[in-house]
Amino acid sequence: MTLTDASTPAIAGAAKLRHSWRGAKPWVPWVFLAIPLLFALVFKFIPLIEGIRMSFSKVQPLLGDQFTGFDNFARVLTDSRFHEAFLHTVILAVCQTITAVALGLILALLFEGASRKLQIARTVIFLPVVTAIAVIGEVWRLILQPTDSGLLNTILHWVGISTQQMLSDENSALFWVGLVGVWAAAPYNMLILLAGLVGIDRTLYEAAAVDGAGRWRRLYYIALPGLRASLSVILTLAAIRSLRVFAEVFILTGGGPAGSTEVWMTRIYSIGFDANDLGLASAAALLLLLATMILTVLARWLTNRKGAQL
């Protein structure tokens, strides 16, 4: 790596050469960018623009689209099933995020350490993160069979709990959907929190011990404050992700029974692809996009402000 030493005259000359030479061909970077930008245009930006256009129109494949102003948005905001879907999405987002972060923290504290055994254990725990959500959903659907012989029901019988209807019960289906989400998300949180724990200065622990602090005080006064950055990152990511929850719900319950687990995205799916009301579905999707964007900006602003205070 002696090349990185920029003090030799030859390299200073090269820098000058590069400058004039690059100025002569300003189109070169655009050659590299052309195809990637074309892909982004066709498969991201044109759909976005199309979506915005459709959300302001009544989409009629043969008769031609008709501009209807904010009509579709008004329909989304006054539709009672969208209200329910919104409520379910927010309940799921809040409960699932908090539980998955708490469980991730417990796992991280439990599995912190450098021994070979712990490393292997962490590899196992991390499996759900790399597994396709479809596999997770289908397997958990089987585990949560509402029959006596279902795996989870069998386990519940051991501790004296009678057979549960689980995903088939209107009153508890959302809970079980959330539980599967927690199972899938906690290991990811564990990994990020483990990285945060490793980054905490060891001498702080020693100093705390000298001052007579026990393990729980040490956890509360040193480890948790040290994890603040990791925690805020996880919380934002999880919140944004859970607003867009689709596949788990679609696979586990399809939004049922009786709409009790319907979330924003499954509602969009059934409006857009089953009922074929493209204008209404696009308006709902646009509102979701706005919500995630506001959340992202808000989160960034909050973290920055916290950073400034520190």
Binding site: L33, P128, A134
Partner: protein, 305 residues
């Protein structure tokens, strides 16, 4: 992140030399007999059971001649290839192949476009660089879910060309090539390659394309690892995109097709377990091979926000 790896290594070295000190973990775990270690071991065993049992069940179920019930069990009753025969009859291999073609094609295209884009953004100073970077960031704000409805229209008729991609593998391969994530990972890494290396090569008369292929790219291998493992897992995980890209169930990827395997007259959940196992294996292999890249990517991405 390198700091994390260094510290882990350090800590491991320390462990080999001596017993674990009380200051090596937030909870102050120490080796040797103690009540807290007993509790810790019990909790670890429970945690492993909770996270591993579903996977064990898939392996067991795929090779078990269980009755026609829809049971999910981790105790094999009778070893058998019956579920495999039934699954192959129902076309599981075709769906698997479809998935492999999509993940292979999508990954190659995604990596190739992001290498080119990242090279332009990271190694040139030009007017509009900020806008280009912003556009790639924006693609990350537009996941397939949010634009699903208009995207399915676009896939049915590509603008200007009027091509209908629906029902072909390209309806999944091309959209995943537009993901900005790999571009940003690559660009961030390429930016840190010392300019002087490039300048010396420039003096030797190395051209633009060769500069990328034989100077910058070989130095970006770690970033390529991260982009590959993330790209693979994220493409393999796609659900809504292959669903809207298909004309009918025969075009599904394996993960989407699992839905159709829920019940089988002869093997109960056996066919679903075979499908799940096949849908599990590729990501498992990639994960075990590129574990370090995956961890590095997640942790560095997370700490940057």
């Amino acid at each position: 992140m390198t700091a994390l790896l260094e510290q882990t290594k350090d800590a491991r070295r320390r462990t080999r030399r001596s017993r674990i000190s009380a200051f090596d973990s937030a909870m102050g775990w120490q080796s040797g007999w103690s009540w807290s270690n007993v509790i810790r071991t019990i909790l670890i065993v429970i945690a492993i059971a909770i996270f591993a049992v579903p996977f064990i069940g898939v392996f067991v179920g795929a090779f078990d001649a269980s009755p026609t019930s829809l049971q999910f069990s981790i105790i094999p009753k009778q070893f058998s290839f019956e579920p495999w025969k039934a699954a192959i009859d129902r076309g599981v291999l075709r769906f698997f192949l479809n998935s492999l073609v999509i993940v292979g094609g999508g990954l190659v295209l995604q990596i190739a476009t992001s290498i080119a884009a990242a090279y332009a953004i990271a190694r040139y100073r030009f007017r509009g660089a900020g806008i280009a970077l912003g556009l790639f960031l924006l693609t990350m704000m537009l996941p397939e879910d949010v634009i699903a409805v208009p995207l399915s229209q676009v896939l049915g008729s590509i603008p200007l060309l009027g091509l209908n991609l629906r029902g072909t593998v390209f309806a999944v391969i091309l959209p995943v090539a537009a993901w900005g994530f790999s571009t940003l990972v690559m660009a961030e890494f390429m930016r840190d390659i010392p300019k002087e290396i490039e300048e010396v090569a420039r003096l030797d008369g190395v051209g633009e394309f060769r500069m990328l292929v034989s100077i910058v790219l070989p130095m970006s291998i770690p970033a390529l690892g991260v982009a590959t493992v993330f790209g693979f897992i994220m493409i393999w995980d796609q659900y809504l995109l292959p669903l809207i890209a298909a004309n009918g169930p025969e075009d599904y990827t394996l993960t989407v097709a699992l839905r159709g395997f829920r019940q089988d007259y002869d093997t109960g959940s056996g066919v679903l377990m075979v499908g799940s196992l096949l849908a599990l294996l590729p990501s498992l292999i990639v994960y075990l091979l590129l574990q370090r890249s995956l961890v590095r990517g997640i942790v560095s991405g997370a700490t940057k926000g």
